[in-house]
Symmetry: D2
Subunit: 394 residues, 4 copies
């Protein structure tokens, strides 16, 4: 891969952050990016200090994202893209600023805290003509790509049932009361938005369902709970779903289930076969044609499909994990950016990375679930109020 390395900036991700460090490893792994600028924290002095500690040149370690956007725009070697790894409530303003400055955007999920903001980002992205990627990183796993391809090939026949779940246990007690940074913002409606476990986890599960099945969630019936006393947002979310083409589904997200670290898992059943994928053992995909012996498809193996091979770095039996999947989103994003620079069509296998439309649909799903729960589980349609925009390319 001899294309020039892209210049990447980052907003958020300073000391003590979890996901910022992951983005940096992901950006580094395949040698597609140099991280050259950033506003790494909310405190200006600390932001600069963190930047230098992370190896950014002192003049590009900025006190805040607005200064960063403005000053980068003046440089000849300005950043190609920005990664936004801040709490949810700030995504919109930051993305807005950098789109306006002509940058491509790589943004954490959920994309925004309201559907109105999401629609505005979609419009801005279209107007700016930039690449906008939402880091639903689980879509970067090779066997998730393989699952999508299997479903797309018709191997499962018409889909009937989808069960997706994403339980964790780290908020089983009131961790936020201890001042733990990750817990504090995720349980605070002012920073996280209207949804807790549903926003943090459910939105990944929802995208995974859409990514693999190519079905849309048409209506939801939700039951949201705050199990830990004193918590304002849901920490357990039960959702029944009506999917396109007459399929049915269940989604479960939880932060309070002891024994679950990061147990995202999806099962898809069609007329002819089923498949199952579990994030904690990502290199395997269970494929179960009706009336045949279950098969364990392995990443990198003899049976790996083109889409799976595109997303893998190692032979079978040499485990790949979370960072590699995240890196795949970064690598595919690099391909989209290079294609735009080179005025050529991108590699079709890279175009599956989640974009601004996916981000918008995710926010719409969250809002519908919250509305359903507020109405004691009435079925609520997932309305996307900008049908004209949905027809646009990423």
């Amino acid at each position: 891969m001899s294309a020039r390395k892209l210049r990447l900036g980052m907003v958020g991700g300073g000391r003590g952050a979890f996901i910022g460090a992951v983005h940096r490893m992901a950006a580094r792994l395949d040698g597609c990016y140099d991280i050259v600028a950033g506003a790494f924290g909310a405190n200006p002095a600390q932001s600069i200090k963190d930047g230098v500690a992370l190896g950014v040149a002192p003049d590009r370690a900025y006190p805040d994202f607005r200064v960063m956007a403005a000053q980068e725009a003046q440089r000849d070697d300005r950043i190609d893209a920005v990664s936004i790894v801040t709490p949810n409530h700030t995504h919109f303003a930051i993305a807005h600023e950098f789109l306006a400055a002509g940058c491509h955007v790589i943004c954490e999920k959920p994309m925004t805290t309201s559907l109105v903001d999401a629609a505005e980002l979609l419009r801005l992205t279209r107007a700016a003509g930039r690449i906008f990627v939402v880091t639903h990183n689980y879509s970067g796993y090779p066997m998730v790509r393989a699952a999508r391809e299997l479903v797309g090939s018709g191997a499962l026949g018409a889909l009937r049932v989808v069960q997706v779940e994403y339980p964790q246990d780290w908020l089983s007690t009131r961790v936020e009361a201890t001042g733990q940074k990750q817990a504090s913002w995720r349980t605070d409606p002012a920073l996280a938005g209207v949804a807790g476990s549903l926003g943090d986890l459910g939105t990944h599960a929802h995208h995974l369902l859409r990514f693999i099945t190519r079905l849309e969630v048409e209506a939801v019936c939700a039951d949201l709970s705050n199990m830990v006393a004193g918590r304002a947002l849901d920490d357990n979310a039960h959702v029944m779903m009506r999917l396109s083409d007459g399929a049915r589904g269940m989604l479960w997200a939880s932060q309070i289930c002891p024994g679950n670290d990061n147990a995202l898992r999806i099962r898809v059943y069609g007329e002819k076969a089923g498949l199952e994928w579990a994030q904690e053992h990502p290199d395997q995909l269970r494929f179960t044609p009706l009336g045949e012996a279950p098969r364990i498809l392995c990443r990198g193996g003899a049976t790996a499909s083109e889409a799976a091979r595109h997303a893998t770095r190692l032979p079978p039996g040499h485990p790949e994990g979370y960072i590699e999947a995240f890196a795949q989103v970064y690598a595919d994003t690099a391909e989209l950016i290079h294609a735009q620079i080179d005025k050529r069509a991108p590699n079709p296998l890279a175009t599956v990375v989640p974009g601004v439309v996916d981000g918008l649909i995710g926010v719409g799903f969250l809002e519908a679930c919250v509305a359903s729960a507020a109405q004691n589980g009435r079925w609520v349609s997932v309305r996307i109020d900008c049908p004209d925009l949905l027809s646009l390319s990423r």
Copy 2:
């Protein structure tokens, strides 16, 4: 175990039956019963023929259950108990007849096809003073007993979330159209009652939840589907549940999910720990105290509890299975019958076998789910219209 063998009769379970043969192996395994009489089929001549083939003396191989009840009642060596292994719609009439004849009853699930009938059986059982057991056989597994004991000990703390599921795949196509006997009656409302997958599988899942957690399902919000064209009853059931003590749950039953043979599985989460049990690997129980390493509790192992040891026959590592669990229900029932004969208190570890009240609550659950689905997923209370009866002993 030198108590005299009990004399058992059977209604149903002739040629081509699945569950009748299981009941016979279960009755035989621990040497507690001799099967001495039966009306094994709906066709009188075949019924007699099947009885003889099964080793029953010719004069006790009966043409139908009414003749059987009447003639057995005349004998000095009359049957102590009857096993009812016929399609659902006949359970009520048969149980009625044998209770009236003074027999103890072991009955397949769901106990009846209406809550009214279930309440009537409860009254009859009380009036007759007989043992009435519903074969929710999964409660006979040692590690299910262990799970119940763990929850009861407070090891999980207050319960918060219960996820129970029971998918199968054998009705993924319209098998009933081929004349397959098992499929035909289970998909026919006239024989199976108001529920399909929910009645056949969901009722087991529901009892398992109640058995392990000692929680009751207070309200349900259900979405029932007939995925296979031409099928009258649900073959996929999604249910959200509000449980006693503020817990929440999801239940999923399905007959159309390729790759699932008999994948009953339950996960229970409390403030302090979680547990997980999967029927296809029944000798293990995953126990996950918050903040500690997950532990795999094994049947028969050093850590086995008294309730688990009561229900086990072999040392750890020597797999027990479905027949053994079913046999445990039979063995515990024998203990209840012997205790009544001997006018003594039964072994408390045997008293957990599901009784007529459990059967009634199961039917109530089915009716509530069907009502909820009919009202587009409105939350419906699980009403048990005979509170006076529920306070009665089994």
Copy 3:
């Protein structure tokens, strides 16, 4: 199955015995046998008492096996077969006695404590024209039958490597010093014979290898250890093997490996495919054709072979276990006995049960391993000194 029930006697298996109770459940499960006589212990009075407690008629609860053999021979309703479930050193004398009395014999493993005795039993069995079965019960598992059939079908191609292991942990400490009955005789050369873990476990592993692969062990290179201080017999056995047709193998048996309950496991690799079976999850067989996705073959499933279906009682997903596998050996033995009574050929699927020749070969394997270890791991041929006998039918 309307054939008359066979009359079974038992030697050994009184109070506190493990394997005797298993044999009784196995005999009972399929309704092929009535246990009508026995000498259940070494102490005459206790032997009689145990027999009565086990439901045997008082006049057939015998003080010892010689009296039993003699008196049964006088009866019109004498036993058809005897089960020998005593410590190893007594197998020969008991089998000898009952063969002489015209009984069929079902005998625990290892068949004898010397190759000379084994050869004598083979001669006696031939002379008596009786059925002699050695309870290598693991050969009764449906997926072990399926594995044998797969190999036999050529699906693996020429075999190259076989890895078989059987670790347990129950003798990790000097349990025998506590007076535990099971441990005491198994660690005592006077009762158990020349081999400890190798005799108790290795002989099962050795038979499983032969059963599935149809290869013979031609030479062994063994390293036997007594890891627990004060123990006379091996509690860990490492063996390298040269197999027929140029294949190679490793066998490991151990009683001192914490975390292993009864972890018998075999892996077989040929030119074209591999397979793997683990006793603690017996319903699955992993089948791995070279260059294809691994397949999980399930008992009772769509892909079950004839031999597997012959040995199964339940649909897939309804776990079968150790007792069922043991029962299969009993059921197949019953078929062999009935065929002899009826002067007809037995069901070929039943003829795979391990017989006296298998018992002899097992003893030969033990002796060769002990000889190799005694010579610091010299390769020693497994010599069967009666080639004329090996050509005989069971």
Copy 4:
């Protein structure tokens, strides 16, 4: 980590190489190295071309390793360290050259193709005062570090049995005859040395055993096979081992077992507990204290030890894999180099990376196994002919 990035050169790893690309990702992941120079292939022109394609400046893309060593030595910004990722027979000469030039060395395994060469490298490394690391990369997995710490803590008590195995299947057919580059050199004694599967896989298994248990292999009894016709080196290796402190072990390496991708696995048993780790699911460690329920220790979890936390990048449930483990070896090597530059003691947690002594012991193991097999499985001592050197620091 604000220490300056180290300058890394690479020998080997051009087009079509597998392990070279892994080394580059590993070097990149944590931002510790820049790859600035290299001689990437045996063909001079191609070597230069590959270097440029890999992003190396044209003047540092060298035609061969001797030119590289000589020219780099002239530069002010010369490389700190060199990675040697060539076939085995060249390791010695390349390492020799770069040690002489004052470089630290990171070398693939087996370190050399003879014990004499290995001893010479040990002397050179000592004389040069450089860091020499052998990439036994599996020692970089967090749960392998945790396993070593568990054993070291005495949690298992005195060790008794170690079972280690490393089967693959990619050489089940004569792949080398097709011209496949990876297969060709690994099966050619002139390039790979005296051992095939044993050198490629067994040497990793051997190091893993030593790393986790801190035991040494004192003597071996080996049976090596060439199962695929026309192959000169072993493709299946069976080894029995006598370990220090009276422990016993088995090692199995194979390249011809269908269904095994990269199935390195180790089981260690002591008086008080056992542990088990399997490379294909590296984030879990099974720990089995005698008489307690087995525990599943997870990377990053509440129970993670200091050594495990040192080697991990992500919270539990976010899978790490092969590249991360490899990167850990690179990161720890960077720490050793920086400590030497800074004249300070290195982080003790980094000092466990395998060094030149480990490389030497690995070669000694291979030679002993080959000698044993050549003498029909005689027990052969693993002799390390330079006891004075073994007492030296890395």
